[in-house]
Symmetry: C2
Subunit: 332 residues, 2 copies
């Protein structure tokens, strides 16, 4: 078990730095593998030392100075060129230099993917990284990949995503042989696009438990553990589920209230919480030479703490080592 | 106002012929523009005459003999070659010959698209037809196109879909200047795929009210009246919404019941009904030389009657005439 450090971008996200620092405190309180010695807080050092101390944070955490910050709306490529000392590239640099094993940020997704790809490079056998998100409110957890890193993938990229997400499910979620499905618009082989047809044939030959096409409606039926798709469709699925639950739950509550049988908000609090992005623990950028977790920009402290937990679990589960071994054994 | 006939495929769908015939009766009872003289029942003539009469159906409807039937699971191209006398191609032939203006079927979607394209041909100015579905449970109705006819569209196809769906919204839903959005994974111009980037530029020049990119979560916020996308993504959206509501509503009900504040099923009956495919009134195949409505295979009599209603409205609203005029005026 590695105890590599986790570089946490204190300046990332809509509620930074406060929500990030509070999330770090929560992670230290709640998750045993997250120790102060493992946490490396990245940002304007003086500012974060002061705020961390004001919150009563442990003095045993590390600090890494990054005087610049990349905003949520900045164009990733431009921002990364203009701000080499921003918290995102500095955190990636810490992993590159061996001072940390993971980066966690609630910041600019494009900047995270760009910095990780340029600074950490991809793992041996991986052409393009993919973003994986584990949805936990379904009958069993589903890891969907790619959620938007790669909107024009090759079929071989989808095979790499399948192998990587399988390694993650095995190492972190304790599923030794996760079932892998290909998101498609029908069950039959010939359904879908040129990409899905080619990917389907390649996935059937890959060293994974491939179950074939999975239709979107089947996501909620516990049929598969890993779902692979292109980054455009994956991002549509993620955002549609988020937006639709925010629309539908109030409608059901409203209909119940109108009928004279109102539902107390606390009755559905657990359900709403389980569906919220804050329970996801952030997205995992699979395929780069380091553990990279990208949280939702809207993350609160709970979401930050879950992202830090997933970083520790991914490091300690040796996910990348498993990925490299699986791909070397003929995974893609 | 045209009073062209509506050819109804009595053999299409999981509950044919009974649900189709009952749906025809409902349409006659409920919708003024649907008269017995306008209905043309297509299928094995002796069988459907007998059943129609047993249900007390008006003797003034027409019958068109089609001794063969294409099953839901059959491969469209193969089935259309092998069964020229099946109800789907016979109904299309009636439109081609001028004996009807519309075809309505709950049958094999691929066979409907294939037969419509081959027999009716596309409208002047249209390269490939697209499937439009109007979602009615959102704050205002949204017509999404393409829902699966064309999984590898060109950017110009999306412009044609936008023009056609705008004509439909104007003629049938009474929205003179429907707002058109492009489904994308971000607001910014540079987001998405090569297709969305090219389509965005072309849509901005088209004679429609283009509002730019619309994110999946914004579907439920009344931001747009028409949403264009490729057929793969559109089909994913449709099936995801269907599957997610079937998953989520029982979860909310269950949580309320566990909390001791159960919700009576009748409280949410209206909501569930509004979200069901049977309220959609079927999908409209836009871009072929005739009105073609494809219902859900699971359609009950209500869904069938709504599909017949939409066929009458689309005919009477002169949607195809508007499409041809708009495209000739520089629509794509």
């Amino acid at each position: 078990m590695t105890t590599a450090r986790i570089a946490l971008d204190v300046m990332g996200g809509d509620h930074a730095p406060r929500a990030v620092l509070e999330g770090a405190l929560m992670a230290l309180d709640s998750f045993e593998p997250v120790t102060p010695e493992r946490l490396l807080l990245v940002g304007p050092e003086e500012l974060i030392r002061e705020q961390w101390s004001a919150l009563g944070g442990s003095p045993e955490v590390g600090f890494l100075d990054a005087p610049e910050t990349i905003g949520m709306g900045e164009k990733p490529a431009v921002a990364l060129r203009a701000k080499p000392n921003a918290s995102i590239p500095v955190a990636m640099g810490a992993v590159k230099a061996g001072a940390a094993g993971a980066v966690v940020s609630m910041g600019n997704t494009g900047a995270m993917v760009g910095a990780a790809t340029m600074i950490l490079r991809t793992l041996p056998g991986v052409r393009r990284p993919g973003i994986a998100v584990t949805i936990g409110f379904t009958p069993s957890p589903i890891t969907v990949v790619d959620m938007g890193a790669n909107t024009a993938p090759r079929a071989t990229d989808l095979v790499e995503y399948a192998v990587m997400a399988s390694a993650f499910q095995a190492a972190v979620l304790g599923m030794p042989e996760p079932r892998v499905g290909l998101l498609n618009i029908g069950e039959e082989d010939e359904k879908g696009t040129a990409l899905t047809k080619e990917a389907r044939a390649l996935l059937a030959e890959a060293p994974i438990s491939f179950i074939g096409n999975v239709e979107p409606s089947e996501l909620f039926q516990g049929k598969t553990d890993v779902l692979v798709t292109d980054g455009f469709t994956g991002n549509v699925v993620l955002k549609l589920v988020e937006g639709f639950s925010e629309f539908l739950i109030p409608r059901v509550m409203g209909a119940a209230a109108e009928h004279g049988t109102p539902v107390a908000p606390e009755a559905i609090g657990g359900l709403v919480q389980s569906m919220s992005y804050s329970a996801y623990g952030g997205a995992l950028l699979l395929g780069v030479n380091g553990v990279v977790i990208i949280g939702h920009g809207r993350s609160d402290a709970t979401a930050v703490s879950n992202a830090v937990r997933v970083a520790a679990q991914t490091l300690d589960g040796g996910v990348n080592e498993r990925v490299v071994a699986a791909l070397a054994a003929g995974g893609a």
